[in-house]
Symmetry: C2
Subunit: 626 residues, 2 copies
């Protein structure tokens, strides 16, 4: 596993799929650049994401800044709760994640200490399992109990304390407006809910989407490209009526079958199993159709990209993993050399986020369902009080009783708060009268049952106003791409058998370059043909690379396979060329005029390689491979 | 002008092209969101940028983080010099840009003070002209002289002092690694020069490109979307041999003619004039072919997008505007309601940036030209010392003179530094011998002329090593888009003549949505046809919107014109439809089967509207417009 990862990572770094950022200054942990092929892969993945989600579902895409004022992240809870627990080397000040140290300690004991008792082993396993639930105090006492010290120096460690993972900055020159680099893109959508709802014709459901950078000031980044301090997120916020989470297109994904790992299976120690999505929803495993629809769409997205469906599972959050407000939450986890990695989170966050911003901003982020005619309704949303207090002073009786003071008594009655009014109502019903203080008169008066009616009742309403629920699929693009690299990588022996050659089996959709063009030998004639082909490829909108180095054709094939280029055109005559497919190494002969359109058919996905294979004569020149 | 801008901006805000960020929290100056149509326009502009520059020129695209460690921005000069001069209200602490206050004061005097003398007027005009050159002291003394106070409170102001415009943060938990949000994307490319040069087969020229967010903590942002605190940059760094800045494709742009504003014309008070690009380069107005090539490509890029070529000019930097190291610099300026706005900077920055990072990192960021056979060369690059000191002890003579000590004398001679050796050479030439201290012997020895030859000469070299020059076109994407909005906006009377309707005349390339689909009346039959058309549009990869509201067709046309949608399909039968073009309002009848492909031809730019107009019957139903 370690060796496989090393082979992948070496290839990725050598071919500049990625580069540790600021390498000439010895880099910064957790920051990576995408080099040319990595950048092309990322841009292909994002273009497909936009096609698959934004365009096909008519989502409203927005683009908000990374710099975010404190008030927004205070409302979302990030200022107070977006923390990891940290311990410090008490002498050098070096910082560590407290849970990492404890986990590493337990793992090492389990793996390398032969004298460990069965009882102790069980304890260490238990600690690893419940680690995420530990409070600062619990972590601290475990670290003390096990005598864990700073890994680099063996110095004693401080008690664990929370470190906020947001990069903090200051907006404007005065230094009095704190801001943060956003830890997710979602908040930019939530604060725009009102405008987006209006843009959608005040209709639900609708989804907004955003692709952009997010930031997490990790305490000590590990796991290479999987845990980084800056990353691209692609997030969808699908707003839906909490009373109707059905989805009109659910039937399109209901028959998909794939690995799911429901909560109860995890608790009872079972493994993930293949479930039909339709059954998962109808059987209540997945909370609702809309959540189920997105699970299905995410499955299609990832597998189209080239993620191996046998190493992809949808794992439901355990009750204690989920925020208290969440209705249900599933992670798309992809297995790679680091284990099962969360790459997409798909959560029904109920009305939590919109309510948090309504509270903090005072701007109601709500939707309304208009009724055909006013009706008496039961409101399901406890956030809004629809039962209205109705106080109706009977002016005639009050006039008879209080004469010139009538107006002031009426006003005082109408000004009563809910509690006071309901108490008066109760007293009037039991005793028939009540003493009532009228401040403007400076004295109490006696109110009788016939002088006022008080009710708190359901009113007829013209519309139902409610806070929408939000279903949020959130994609860690860098993680998906890294897992894709591992799933796409394989090696095969060179023709001579003397070395192992690297190949990325990217589908054309993802491949950084769709096609390479090689003149078989260096001569002017072939180079001119290569240039003509290049022009026709540009005209067809196909990205390509020409390799006119004098290297052997076999070496040039190896070089292009290592970049995951699906097709190679070898110019070996002035009328027709050899077209070679990367994985099968099969070759066909295609005329100069046709080659660009054949390449386009295959790389656009209109035809597969097998479709074109039988149409053209096979080229057998196995000798050229080396 | 003010009214025109207000009309554009109102339309943009109402239709959510952009939204002041965090509006429900009263926003943050200088931060804006792109709403759905703005986001689509931006993504179209970036896709075209990638096509026009990255793909057509085979550039190496990279993607680097925004968070940047201090050392990188120290080397680039941003930590020390990326500042604006600021003054503070001495009582409230409110900050202002010193030059803005002075400029506003002079402008107001010129515009609103009728008693002003001619002499004073000339002085104010001069101040405005040279404002950018003022030092902190000069700005301060002018502010004092004119008695300028804080605009909001009339309180006295502090002396001007520099404020660094970078958002500062801290990387990692220890608080000892300062970092900044990058003020430009270029540095990420420079620090990767070595890897990219290698990726390009160690060959020059090549260009790297990057699209990404950049950040500027403006003191007091003004001018709406033109001066913001976070923005998208698209930058190209074209690395070239300083001795050969020719460009193989220059002839492709040499015949372009457009408005240029050379330095000498600005100084002598002339206006911008139309110059053929080929002449500008051959006449020495533009420094070199590569710079000229990019000026031409930028012209094509902007005008394809829809920028009015009569309100676009290329202005050369004045000598005092340009950094001392720059060889030449031109700004693509676009005229809008705010005046002429710098939207693209195209600079020949010579070797400055690579040398700065070579100095700071100790990693030589250089290129090498291999010679066919070693030759004696003159090196033009003063950054590297190629004249090698050659000390050749004559062992035979030294052996005769020093016997057993010969080895130590030889070693001492060879270890001489450049200065010492050149002094010895001079003395030997004038006096024939010299006293020489040999530390390992603990004594002086006498060296005679025949015992050593010392030379500092040009050596035969196998390669020429040099720091490449960089030519940098840098695009402010948000500014380009804002100017495009102004250039695309017009109004025309409604059919009834009772109101003015807004239109954006976006070319299909830029339009946020390519096509709308309207059932003429609300009935199930037409809605089903609309859905069938929608499916065929999706299959053809065309973005569209269906509007099934019962609003009049005229109102629906107005709504879609205001979004700049080029084509509208009205479903008014079950076999054929009406296809309407936005600007001409011409309508043709197209069959259901053909309509998606006709829309695709026009929006992909394969055909113009005029091309298809004569192929299909005209639909005359002017009555439908209202």
């Amino acid at each position: 596993m370690e060796a496989f990862r090393q082979a992948v990572v070496n290839t990725l770094e050598r071919r500049l799929f990625y580069i540790p950022s600021f390498k000439i200054y010895r880099g910064v942990a957790g920051l990576y650049d995408y080099g040319p092929p990595g950048c092309a892969v990322k841009s292909n993945v994002l273009a497909f994401w936009r096609q698959h989600f934004v365009l096909e579902e008519n989502m409203l895409e927005v683009d908000c800044p990374c710099v975010t004022p404190e008030v927004v992240l205070k409302a979302s809870g990030h200022v107070d709760k977006f923390t990891d627990l940290m311990v410090k080397d008490e002498k050098t000040g070096t910082c560590y994640r407290a849970d990492h140290l404890l986990k590493d300690f337990c793992k090492e004991k389990l793996e390398k200490d032969p004298k460990i008792t069965e009882e102790k082993a069980a304890e260490f396993k238990h600690v690893i399992a419940v680690l995420d639930e530990f409070s600062a105090e619990e972590l601290g006492s475990k670290i003390k109990e096990y005598g864990i010290t700073a890994p680099d120096t063996k110095n004693p460690l401080s008690a664990p304390y929370p470190f906020n993972l947001m990069f903090q900055t200051s907006i404007g020159p005065s230094g009095v407006s704190p801001g943060y680099m956003r830890p997710e893109t979602a908040q930019g959508i939530f604060v725009n809910f009102k405008d987006l709802y209006y843009y959608n014709g005040n209709k639900l459901p609708f989804a907004a989407a955003q692709i952009g950078q997010a930031f997490r000031n990790e305490i000590s980044p590990r796991q290479g490209l999987l845990r980084v301090r800056e990353f691209t997120l692609a997030e969808i916020e699908h707003f839906v009526d909490p009373e109707d989470k059905s989805h009109p297109k659910f039937s399109e994904v209901a028959n998909l079958e794939f690995l799911m790992f429901p909560r109860q299976d995890q608790v009872s120690g079972q493994s993930a199993r293949i479930i039909r999505l339709g059954e998962a929803v109808s059987g209540g495993i997945v909370n609702n159709e809309t959540l189920g629809y997105f699970i299905g769409r995410v499955y299609l997205f990832l597998t189209y990209l080239g993620i191996d469906k046998e190493r992809l599972r949808f794992r439901q959050h355990l009750a204690n993993e989920m925020a208290h407000y969440a209705a249900d939450c599933w992670d798309a986890e992809i297995e790679c050399s680091y284990g099962w990695i969360e790459c997409v989170g798909i959560a029904d966050r109920s009305a939590y986020d919109l309510r948090a911003h309504t509270d903090k901003s005072g701007v109601p982020l709500v939707a309304a369902e208009k009724f055909a005619e006013p009706i008496e309704v039961e409101f399901s949303d406890p956030f809004f009080i629809y039962q209205k207090l109705v106080i109706t002073p009977v002016k005639k009786e009050l006039g008879l009783a209080f004469k010139g003071n009538q107006k002031m008594v009426v006003e005082a009655l109408e000004a009563m708060g809910e509690k006071e009014a309901m108490e008066m109502k109760a007293t009037l019903e039991t005793k028939g009268e009540v003493e009532f203080q009228v401040c403007t008169l400076g004295k109490d008066v006696t109110i009788k049952k016939n002088m006022v009616t008080i009710s708190k009742e359901k009113k007829k309403e013209h519309q139902r106003v409610f806070t929408p629920s939000v279903i949020e699929p959130s994609f860690g693009i860098g993680r998906i791409i890294y897992c894709l690299y591992e799933h796409s990588f394989y090696t095969r022996p060179s023709k001579g058998g003397d070395e192992q050659l690297n190949v990325f089996r990217f589908p054309p959709l993802v491949a950084p370059i769709k096609c390479t063009v090689f003149p078989l030998v260096q001569n002017q004639q072939y180079e001119e043909v290569a240039k003509r082909i290049a022009k026709s490829l540009t005209a067809a909108g196909i990205s390509y690379k020409i390799d006119i180095t004098g290297t052997s054709i076999g070496k040039r094939y190896a070089r292009t396979d290592e970049l995951g280029v699906p097709l190679a055109i070898t110019v070996d005559s002035t009328t027709s060329v050899t077209l070679r497919e990367r994985d099968s190494k099969q070759q066909i002969r295609v005329s100069l005029e046709e080659v660009a359109s054949v390449v386009k058919e295959v790389t656009d996905g209109l035809n597969t390689w097998n479709d074109v294979l039988w149409k053209y004569p096979t080229h057998s020149a196995a000798a050229t491979e080396d």
